[in-house]
Amino acid sequence: MSTAIRSRSAPWVTTAKYVALFALLVFFLLPVYALLVTALKDPSEVSVTRMWELPGSLSFASFTAVWPKLQDGFVNSVMLAVPASVLSAVLGAMNGFVLSKWRFPGADFVFPLILFGMFSPYQAILIPMVQVMSDAGLRGGLDGLILVHVIYGLPITTLIFRSYFAGISDEIIEAAKVDGAGMLRTFFFVALPVAPPAFAVAMIWQFTSAWNDFLFGAVLTNRDYWPITIALNNIAGGQTVPFNEAMASALLACLPTVAVYVILGRFFMRGLMAGALKG
């Protein structure tokens, strides 16, 4: 914050601000409250009409009931999200480097084409994708799913690294050239060492995206390999599902991404501030 003199707001304005912020806090935390409260209730206390009441006694019964059904999905999602985020970050780094610092003729034309891949609705490629994956024998297990997540994650990771590397001064790259480094060595010795913040952004984003995906998981995996979102929907999707189990399973399914966000969030922010994802 600058030390410049700023007009201080009238006290009532400040109070109003805090009131508004508090109200917003309530709005955003309401669902979280409902979630926690319901998941921690003894099953006998659970009812849709009494959802706002605090639990009489803390009970983890819902979690123990639900975990066996979620377990496989959880493991599958981990085996999906981790490799997918690492791979697409690495590829994105290479692409981003080339597009910002080692351009080829047509690079500025190619980039929007890549970007469009990020925005296009997945419905428009769904049918062909299913066909190709089936024919290639990649449908049913996690391999195909990982492949698909890596490929469709390329536009966003490329964008992240391209924006980030654009912040490296051209002169440093030129100095490396004059010093005798070719493209690969410039990438390894000059670009990668400064790239950790961008890696944080790319991997956190991709991890979240892969973990939270539903559509691809639904069409590309068999029962044994269902990611957690599918498992979650099956447990909690019906209308007759016990309310507490639905909440408990939703909570468990969200934990990893929320944990990543809370713990690594500041690296994410730092990376964004440092220039990833500009524009």
Partner: protein, 294 residues
């Protein structure tokens, strides 16, 4: 071509990604369009050619017309709501409140969770099944705001889908807030200081100096939100997928293809969805690449 030595390695490094995207994005889009010109029904692919029959059939399809209306309603409610909410949150946090990072963390939290989980939580919040008072309605009644009671997305009105803008806005306003915060903080201090020295008070500084510079942010936010809204599937599917009152093209495509086996029709809907998104996105991409060049 001596120049090849300079940029060749770069092209080589990026080539696999380009090829992969070329196939998986553009190749598949083309393929999908091809399917939309067939009469493929059932599990076995069929690549005949029926011209634009599928498209004309859709134009006359009642469900599809409803879908379009619903998705428009949803988009407007969602985009406007998120814009307003995100803007308000950014303005409240802009000056640097104590514990700003706590507020920011909470507001951005919903972005970390999947739409499925969001849907499951909000399904119960918006519950009003069987005439009982539950979920949010119960909360309203408890705190004396009973008049806010609503049937949400279960109403018979064709605007039922507007209720879903609530969970969607809950999930994404944080992102809009982040955009606005970046935009607000990107206004150079010197401009504001010049205005203050010229005699403007804070509201006027905002109106004359800051506001005009927010236009790019608003445009960015609108485009991104609109395209997300058109693509939204997970949220609607898990909240109340079979409810025809909140049916949208994305849902129709799913059900008609994977439940009904009408692959050709599904491909047609998908192509139209793509066109809808392209209309919004292509100018945006073109504009941002152009201004970056400047």
């Amino acid at each position: 071509m001596r120049k090849l030595r300079r940029w060749g390695p770069g092209l080589l490094l990026i080539a696999p990604s380009l090829i992969a995207l070329g196939v998986f994005v553009y190749g598949f889009i083309g393929w999908n369009i091809r399917v939309s010109f067939t009469s493929w029904r059932g599990l076995a692919p069929k690549y005949d050619f029926v011209g634009f029959d599928n498209y004309t059939a859709l134009a006359r399809d009642e469900r599809f017309s409803l879908d379009i209306k619903h998705v428009v309603v949803f988009t407007i409610a969602f985009v406007v709501g998120s814009l307003v909410l995100g803007f308000v949150m950014a303005m409240l946090l802009e000056r640097g409140i104590r514990a700003e990072s706590v507020f920011r963390t909470v507001f951005l939290l919903p972005m970390a969770i999947s739409f499925i989980a969001t849907a499951i939580i909000w399904r119960w919040l918006l519950d009003n099944g069987g005439g009982r008072t539950a979920g949010l309605n119960k909360l309203f009644a408890d705190v004396g705001l009973g008049f806010l009671r609503s049937d949400w997305h279960k109403t018979d009105s064709s605007f039922a889908i507007a209720a879903i803008a609530l969970p969607a806005g809950w999930a994404l306003s944080g992102y809009v807030m982040a955009l606005f915060l970046a935009g607000l903080r990107g206004v150079p201090d010197e401009l504001r200081e010049a205005a203050r020295v010229d005699g403007a008070n804070e509201p006027r500084v905002f109106w004359h100096v800051v506001r005009p510079m927010l236009l790019p942010v608003v445009m960015s936010a609108v485009v991104i939100l609109a395209h997300i809204s058109l693509k939204t599937f997970d949220l609607l599917y898990a909240i109340d997928g079979k409810n025809l009152n909140i049916d949208v093209p994305a849902l129709y495509m799913w059900f008609t293809t994977f439940d009904g086996g009408f692959y050709a029709r599904g491909a047609t809907i998908a192509t139209l969805l793509l066109l809808g998104v392209a209309v919004v996105i292509v100018p945006y991409i073109w504009y941002s690449v152009r201004s970056e060049r400047r």
